[in-house]
Amino acid sequence: MDIQQNYFAFLGLPESYDIDLKSLAARYHELQKTLHPDRFAHLSDREKRLSVQYTAYLNEAVTTLKSPLGRAQYLLNLHGIDTISEASVQLEPAFLFEQMALREDLEDIKALPSPEEALDQFLDKVVQQLATYQKLFAEYYALGDVESLDRAAAVIRKMQFMVKLQKEIELVESELD
């Protein structure tokens, strides 16, 4: 194990968008066991500190790669494309209109006397759209040339809006319960 390695290498997984989530979970448990603090109890402070560092890196790696958006962002980051902290980028007006309309739809649904069913259908729609974006990202990413990676970054930006919307729907649902 080496925390200089990227998350994929650290976990011993192929560097790809289509990772097997079961292997990810299995590797996580294996490494977690190796890193358990009890196994370091008799060792020096330096080694104990290292075990804490490794565990933190492991958790960070798994959380990032498990998330479809986080994994996409991380892969592009490895190619020098930062989609996490970019502040202002040009987005297609049609996409922004659609996003605005979706948020207005959510407000309308929230105002219904019993919004449960409409909310479920709305969430389904958003989840499906996210799945389409994921597929699209995987295709562009696999092509790997500069132009395709730019397109992949554009897909991530769209994903970010949809993930935010998904969280908002889930928040509304949790408030209903």
């Binding site: 502040a87 202002s88 922004l96 996003q99 605005m100 970010q160 809006f161």
Partner: protein, 127 residues
């Protein structure tokens, strides 16, 4: 993180929330978004034949700072010429609202939105 009083004031009593008819040739619509936080902002202006902004409306789905920034801009631009409105700087918005550094991008979004609205209006007029 604590919001300034001015941000809270706009957040609790946002000015000029609403929508204008985008097909009206006197209306310019600016639509912007910030992927990093998933915020979406729509800012619209209604311009007189003399080129003065008579009315402004906004709708923002985002954090308190983004809502306050767009609310403030709609207040400011009323009565301005298109040129004056297009010259608004995000730093003026951030200063007025006392935005902390991590929220400066919200004021940038509002500046982009008013610029986009002015551009949209001009494009409609020349079409």
């Amino acid at each position: 993180m604590a919001y300034s009083e001015e941000v809270l004031e706009h957040y609790e009593n946002p000015r000029n929330v609403g929508k204008m008819d985008d097909s009206d040739s006197h209306v310019g619509t600016g639509m912007v978004g910030a992927p990093a936080c998933g915020d979406v902002m729509r800012l619209q202006i209604k311009v007189s034949d003399e080129g003065i902004i008579e009315d402004a409306k906004f709708k923002t789905y985002g954090c308190g700072s983004a809502i306050a920034s767009s609310s403030l801009v709609t207040e400011w631009v009323k009565g301005m010429t298109l040129e004056q409105a297009a010259e608004l700087k995000n730093t003026q918005i951030a200063d007025q609202l006392a935005l902390p550094p991590v929220k400066i991008h919200c004021s940038v979004l509002a500046e982009d939105a008013i610029k986009a609205a002015v551009e949209d209006y001009k494009k409609k007029q020349s079409a």
